[in-house]
Symmetry: D2
Subunit: 353 residues, 4 copies
């Protein structure tokens, strides 16, 4: 499982959105994918469109046009697709992922359809399944695609649930502390997170109108953002222990999460530095900042890095963490490719530097 | 006509858009309007909404709520409305303006419905009228609301056609030269104009999405923007003499027009300065810059000023003009109030400084 | 003290910055200041400049130019200045404020020089005084200019310390809870605050470069922002009880503070609403949002309002507050004028709506 | 000369600026540069800094740090540097380029020091040379690095003058028309160009302050921008034939030039399309848009493409061109690498897609 396959072939369903566009770009330039990726539309009918009709910034001068194919299992099977990326609404993913697995095609799903194991958490998605028992089984099997936490399971995954953008930024900042037992269970962890507008998707709505977002900042989904369940499950926290508030930033892309924790015992900046360095040793897509340096959005945008930094209060227990990433890359398409790399036996950073 | 009326009363139909919001703000704070303006929705039914539901930035702490009334001629007449502002699509204005005039209510129309006298120019609006003869008569009577050019006619107008935002910026820069006969008819006047996104309206579309407009610049409506006819008619130019290209700027509001003209004879910067100073003498809403100073958008935003500056080439005939204004104020609601001031006998700048 | 004085006259020292520009604009348009304000430069020599050389957006067409005068006590006294605004570095204010008071001129100081009573808090400013005993006495006398909290003292103040921008947004959100004894002293109050770039001042630095701030977000001054002391003193908190982290937003102006508190006892949204409504009854410059509505920056920019909203967790004790204001208005020049209004017996909102 | 050299090695002097940072990024990832590039500071002394101190966004997790070396001819020669990139002020380049050539090191200069052949054009740079005769000879020899126009000469160049950002966008749009003799010499070519703030450099100045550039647009250097000479020399135009006005856009990067020309004879959109397609056949870094599609900045940012589109008026002679590029890539560092590719025998797009 850890050695590269012969000429793996991948396909993408859903390339009209922002994540889909980044995914297409990354896959087309991936050094390990010598066979060209295939691109499918959402519905079953042919559209006559090519990729650059949907993503004009991807236009090249090499004379090659990638058709947007009508979605078809037969086409996927006939072309021996190894991995199918689903960049689709979660309802669609809930329907197609089991179908793909049944046909022996591994799935990397960018929606929230398969990220959560506990019904009380996944209830937020209002999922309905044609075959609930099979869906439950697949839900149990699905691997949460945080490559820094679950590399082994990812390598073998049939169904890979690519994490949310906000949750990735927060989980990676908190996981080393959680593992070390340093998070004081009696103190609320406050996650004040801010995201660029691409996180809201391509649909033209009142809230994605330039006039709403520009020169503005607003909090939303207080006490109720869908990514909260990922935090609870991945960090083994109860709902009482963490509060996450998302905000809409007037920028195209990038997330910065400011995280406030109380440690169970006093420590030193050096110890925190070592804890993180050990935890992320050998992990290529996490960059750690030396305190008092802190990450900022402009340094991660258009990269697949998650940057993490911290300040420790002189009392040794009050810790502030700052975590940054590009919501379309490490928060979506980039992390999906990183997961693909692990699933296909490539180095995790291949095609991502 | 030049003396203030007793307690004039005005009403606005259409306050949900950006211009409508600015209009409401200006009228509510106008020192000459001692009777509170009335606000009407587009359709005839009551909505139960108040002004701040549509324009939350106008919220106050004075305990007064302005209801959005169902549109009704009876209400307008019963309340002795002197002037009705129409901030509506041009089709609606084409229908309601004649009705208002018939009932003795003067109209200030912010749409393009009544700005153009020549059919070949107004054809771009695809106007259809229930009573074409009456509409034609009213079209002939309608006064183009450029207060610096037509103050006398405006004071007496029954139907005031408030100019377009782009066209205001260009007409005010070119009018002194046109009047002086300095525009070389053999040389194309190039108007390269750039506008903030509020000019595209409040509808959520692909082009008003934050991700489309932010960090971007694009030209649009080449050889075909609706405001072109206003330039032709107001400056007495043929279509061969002027080219206007609009661009979408990644900012909320403001227009900057860069205008390239060839003069019929060599002149000096001092002569140009004097020409403009004489033309705009006593006009309070035009600010002239001393060459080599040029206007910039940030100095006009949220003001009703049109700022104009120029550079004259050392050859004495090649002239570059820069004209700036706020598209929602001098380019829409502010100019509408300036016109109202003239129509009601106030000073033109009342409520606008 | 509560009745308007006859023709009060004010002067401003320091009009080159962003706050100074807004202050000049507000004072020039203030309905109660029938005598024109005077403007002084920082140094003592004449510059020959007029106000619009420093603040070009304030240009008018009325033919009046306001000279920037060389700073001179004699000129201030000869012109019977009632109130002197100091929009200067705190070191300068520390020197000039006692001088002004000695000459019978009341002072509204926009710097941090006089805001803090406790030496451990004011130490952050490294203040040095020519006459320490007199400075200490004046420090004790100085009134913290939060008009919603200290209206009576403000009305009589000789030295008014205008609050910081960040601190205003947080103090106004927390004051009703603090007064009601609802802030759990065992739980950290987290204040995650974000400000537009004008808060960083007009000096051209690496951090105010467009390329640093645009498309970016960054945290700074962790555990060490100068406004922290204002929170501690005004809310009667210890340093252990509150943590404030400022962030630099890629927008020109506006602050949004997201505040996380734990209440001492479970309550209801209705009770919180009533608490705030009672606390701010009759206060014209605070707008309260009905939960689940939350303030956002675009609705307060270019106003003197502080907008406050909240969400209460279903457990009744976890409370999220959002507080927004314009850092140059309610956070600086606007609040200074609001304080002036109280000091001169005007209504607090005069010249600010 | 057209075949790849064995392990070419390059060095960069000046990596602290925006172009230098992009250049470092491109060279470090270039597939043909198997030997790591070297980086030199501007001055001669060691600083102890590494590349990521100056360009933090380039931080990696591979454990390799690139030292910023003190500039030294001995070091360059000892390391058998084939090409030295100079990303320095033009005065420095004027001094160092002859030195490098004398030592057998080819130079790619990103400044304006060597772009212009005619003294009346280069006078704008106020160049002074220690050895004027040698400098003049080198000036004559220097190759203007527009790869789409001068590929053969570039391949053999010892001194490559990398073009200006504005001029690249305009020259590439106009060159096909100039070559075909279609530019009417009696009609002014108007180039209205707009650039993001990175074009103004990293120095913190009043004009690069966020508060100056954000939400703003301003014209500058009217009738006098330094890139004008490049237009004249490359397109064989006289100063009377073309006018170029730059504007400062409120975005980090990207240039859009709107160009107005009159053709010598009526033509068709199809003929224009064919003219451009033929001219740019086989050129990989120019993308042509099919009318009525026009380029926009967001599609070229972070690419090395120059995108060109046009609208032809129905009269067949009035032509509008729109040309877009990223000022730091195709307008600077990317084009420099494209030139390096030609100089070293690589494909022009290597390391640039």
């Amino acid at each position: 499982m850890a050695s590269p396959q012969q000429s793996p072939r991948v396909a993408v369903a859903g390339v009209s959105g922002y994540s889909g566009g980044e995914l297409a770009r990354l896959l087309l330039n991936h050094p390990g994918l010598t066979t060209r990726p295939m691109f499918f539309g959402r519905a079953g009918e042919a559209t006559g469109q090519v990729l650059t009709d949907l993503q004009p910034q991807l236009a090249t001068t090499d004379g090659i046009a990638d058709p947007i194919l009508p979605f078809s299992w037969d086409t996927l099977v006939a072309n021996k697709i190894d991995i199918l990326f689903l960049a689709l609404p979660h309802e669609q993913s809930r329907e197609w992922a089991p179908e793909a697995i049944r046909r022996g095609i591994r799935v990397i799903d960018l929606s929230g359809a398969w990220r959560l194991k506990e019904k009380k958490n996944s209830a937020v998605y209002n999922l309905t399944d044609a075959d609930p028992a099979a869906a439950d089984a697949l839900e149990t099997e699905a691997v949460f695609g945080a490559p820094e936490l679950h590399a082994e399971a990812i390598a073998k995954a049939r169904l890979l649930a690519n994490p949310g953008c906000y949750s990735t930024s927060m989980i990676l900042a908190l996981a080393p502390l959680a593992k070390a037992g340093l998070l004081d269970p009696k103190e609320l962890i406050v996650c004040d997170a801010k995201s660029g507008v691409s996180g809201a998707g391509k649909a033209a709505t009142a809230k994605t109108h330039f006039m709403y977002a520009a020169d503005n900042l607003s909090a939303y989904n207080v006490f109720g953002h869908r990514h909260t369940g990922e935090l609870l499950e991945q960090l083994h926290l109860s709902e009482d222990q963490i509060q996450f508030t998302p905000h809409l930033l007037p920028i195209p892309r990038g997330i910065l999460s400011t995280i406030y924790v109380r440690l169970t015992q006093p420590t030193t900046p050096e110890a925190i530095t070592k804890l993180f360095a050990d935890f992320y040793a050998g992990k290529r897509m996490v960059r750690l900042h030396q305190t008092p340096n802190l990450p900022q959005i402009q340094h991660v945008v258009r990269t697949n890095y998650c940057d993490i930094g911290f300040h420790l209060h002189k009392n040794g227990t009050r810790l502030l963490l700052v975590s940054c990433l590009d919501n379309l890359l490490k928060g979506a398409a980039g992390q999906a490719v990183q997961n693909m790399n692990l699933m296909l036996g490539f180095a995790e950073q291949d095609g991502l530097l």
